[in-house]
């Protein structure tokens, strides 16, 4: 997979490059500013951009703003902190191919590489921290309180962006029961059944905007 990285801290940029190249990916450009990121993406048309939220010169949310300009190209935000607001902005177009992870998730290499591939393939990867914020916020929300503990666990993983098979593996469940749980969740959240492949994204989005 061809990847562009935008990260201003040399230590982390080098770390990411060696992890990605060490696992069979190709880093076509590693830049340190938002402008350079936009240029590199225009030039290389990568399969995925990995972007830090804070970039020079003002060290604010340049990374998020640049990512929004890159949409609908696949973007994975890696940040030192997660902010639900940013997750909502990234998901807002409902098109998927978005990820927002804490930088420390990189150290769980297999999960990280899984997220990289998922986002490049058009899926989502939300940090458990974002999901935790969602659940904290919706703790007294009617929809969530109606869920059984097992359904909550499943929703947690769906919100992170996991596929049904990944959820089966994580919770040691049969594929059929996972599908059943997800159907129940969508029903309880009032999401009508449809063939739209982004319904899972919309489920998360419905939560973010609730």
């Amino acid at each position: 997979m061809r990847i562009v990285i935008a990260e201003d801290l040399v230590l982390l940029r080098d770390g990411l490059v060696s992890i990605l190249t060490g696992t069979g990916h190709e880093v076509v450009a590693a830049v340190d500013t938002a402008d350079a990121l936009l240029e590199a993406v225009a030039e290389h048309q990568p399969d995925l951009s990995i972007v830090d939220v804070r970039l020079p010169p003002s060290y604010r949310d340049e990374g998020i703003r640049a990512a929004l300009r890159l949409r609908p190209a696949p973007v994975l935000i890696l940040s030192q902190y997660v902010e639900r607001t940013y997750a909502a902005e990234l998901l807002a177009d409902g098109k998927g191919a978005v990820g927002y992870l804490l930088k420390d998730r990189v150290t769980a290499l297999d999960d990280f590489l899984d997220a990289v591939e998922r986002v490049a393939a058009g899926g989502t990867a939300m940090d458990p921290e974002v999901v935790r914020q969602l659940f904290a916020r919706n703790a007294q929300n009617q929809g969530v309180t109606a869920l059984t503990p097992r359904e909550r666990e499943v929703l947690d993983l769906v919100a992170q962006g996991m596929s049904n098979s990944a959820i089966c593996a994580a919770l040691v469940l049969a594929p059929v029961s996972v599908e059943k749980h997800i159907g129940n969740i969508f029903a309880k959240l009032g999401l009508p059944p449809s063939d739209d492949s982004h319904r899972r994204v919309l489920a998360v989005l419905a939560y973010l905007n609730a």
Binding site: L11, G15, Y59, Q80, L102, K103, T107, A108, L109
Partner: protein, 416 residues
Amino acid sequence: MRTARSFAYLVTSLVAGPAGFVWTLATTLLMAVGAVTALGAPVFLAVTWLDRHLADLERRRAAWVLGAPITPPYLPVTATGRARVRQVAAQPATWRDMVWFAVLLPVGLTLGIIAVVTTVVTAAAVIAPAWAWSVPERRAHPLIQQAMGTHSGRLLISAVGIALIPIAMWLVRQLASAQARVAVALLAPGEHGRLVRRAQELAASRARVVDAQAAELRRIERDLHDGAQARIVAAGMTLALAERRARTLPAAPAPDGAGVLDGIATARRQLDEALAELRRLVRGIHPPILTDRGLAAAVSALAGDCPIPVAVTIETPERLSPAVESAAYFVVAEGLANAVKHAAATSCSVLARHVAASGREHLTVEVADDGTGGAEPAGSGLDGLRRRIEALDGTFIVTSPPGGPTRLRAEIPCAS
């Protein structure tokens, strides 16, 4: 030299005294007439403007004798129109200038005449014998003729004259410095001016301290973010790669290879915990979203993360000064946290409004809940907030009767 300056000061006062008196009389009349017409304000402002320049001259004259400059007592006048008149009239210095010009007449005349007479008498005594010799005066008083007629008499008068010189010089200097001291008493900054000036200096230095502190907090946050956090993440990445390599080695390196892997996994988990802790710390120092997006976004995020419904009304400019933003943010954070943790509230409202009235801008932040109340304003959280807001010259009011509801209200001035 000092005597000459003192003498010059006293002699010029002979002119300045009557001139000042006439000026005061004329301008007072002019202002009295102006006060009953529409021209009152411009006349007053013109007169006081000239008064200030004349008083400056007087200050310079007095400083010449004292050998040290006299600080002008005037406070900056910022307003225009009617408000300007009020500002100028409210300054004691304006009226003290006028009093000085009135006082200059009697003081200047009296001291000036004494100085001139003393000098003339002394000089006359010294040069009298020479004078009598060169311009004989037959009709002079017999007593003087007798004194002038003898060598010893002439010598005595000259001796008395010479002996008088230092006394006369001393007297002139004393008179001049007495007058200069009166000038200082009236023309130098009084207690009012001194206090106002001091208050301004203190406000300015406090503003600098507050700004420096806000900048310092942001610097610490940045340092943690780019330094400690980044290093821990990098260490985690290195460990992760090492773990992967260890796992994919062709043969298990040793019987306890699994133990090594466990060790690496533990180290990684510890790093994760350290990072989570750091993140919590950074958020407490200065939340990143506040730096990124400003108060409105940060408060919305806080409200969004709050488990109870929060009605948010924010009417503020996009960005305020960092110290103000951060104080307001922590008022909201503390208010919401208390509502959830202690007050058992079921809903909350947050209001942040930027108000600009009569040239003064301030930010009002209000957090109200429908909980059980009884919040302790002296508690460490609320007391810390109060001190933080008072450092910005703001006010912080907590009303939380037992049984509720609780309301936190902060008013923070914003530098325009």
